[in-house]
Amino acid sequence: MTAGPRLYLVVFLVLLALTALTVLIALVDLGPLNTPVALLIAAGKATLVVLVFMHLKDAPGILWLAAGAGFFWLGILILLTMSDVATRGVLAIPGK
């Protein structure tokens, strides 16, 4: 579909449906999957907004680079920090 009011309306309705879905799923207990499912739906919604509403899907590569850089460094920020925080106390400290 080419960019235009029709596509925007379809994406808007999908975003509303995903919002209703994520709120309803939150009322069901999925055990350890609760957080991954909620974050996956949020990532899907954000991707739709970035690609269609922010027109990234039709944008030149340099805008993809700028957009990707933000999320790439966010990933480093969280993954590297959590690789420390989440693994403290996993191994015994020699001599202690």
């Binding site: 919002t19 739906i41 949020a42 509403f53 922010m54």
Partner: protein
């Protein structure tokens, strides 16, 4: 040559297309710094939620996911009207442009009003760290940590949205004065990018604040 004909092309640019790409790149780079800005708070949230999973889940149960979901729908609606405004500016539809910008300002204000109602409710329940915080017991400090992060993240988000409403008001005023045309409407495009970013931040705040811990014992 058409490249230099437009009075709206600043002298440092070769043509309108280069000027448009430069303004969009500038906004995307700014948004990348904004990802880092909110990212620091999301990291703090991730670390403390890892350290205190049960109190965070219990604290989250004080938030109403239905109200959060409704507010998400309101903000998504405003993103829809913004993308309509950008479309209207591209094709030169003045009435649609002004109408969409007006609807955006109204929806953004509705979001802030619902947010304010929620904050007022938290104050009534005594969940505002440092001002009126009533929880007691072993989990109270970590619950306070959750609400500290909650107010920081939703507060900074509301500040961004308030700025967005101000920007959209200026854009609407310029559009009313007839400043934009299909050949030149960069301000509408980049104001739209900023608005959508603020929407995306909320898309992630909804699950991490409202939807976790519905089922924690």
């Amino acid at each position: 040559m058409a490249d230099h004909a437009g009075a709206h092309v600043a002298h440092q640019f070769d043509d309108a297309e280069q000027q448009r790409q430069a303004s969009e790149l500038g906004m995307w780079v700014f948004l990348a710094t904004e990802v880092m800005f909110f990212g620091a708070m999301i990291l703090a949230y991730t670390v403390y939620r890892f350290e205190y999973p049960a109190p965070f889940a219990h604290a989250s149960q004080h938030l109403d996911p239905i109200v959060g979901g409704i507010n998400t729908a309101v903000l998504l609606g405003s993103s829809f009207t913004v993308v309509l405004a950008v479309h209207a500016a591209r094709v030169g539809a003045r009435r649609l442009l002004l109408g969409s910008l007006g609807a955006t300002i109204v929806l953004g204000t509705v979001f802030l009003a619902i947010k304010g109602y929620e904050w007022h409710h938290h104050y009534g329940e005594g969940l505002v760290p440092g001002i009126r915080f009533l929880p007691t017991g072993p989990e109270a400090p970590a619950i306070g940590l959750f609400f500290w992060l909650y107010f920081a993240m939703t507060g900074v988000h509301a500040v961004h949205l308030t700025i967005g409403i101000g920007v959209m008001t200026v854009i609407a005023f310029l559009a009313w004065r007839g400043a934009f045309s299909p050949a030149y409407h960069n301000p509408v495009e980049i104001a739209g990018l900023y608005w959508h970013f603020v929407d995306i931040v909320w898309i992630f705040l909804l699950p991490i604040l409202y939807l976790i811990g519905r089922h924690a014992p």
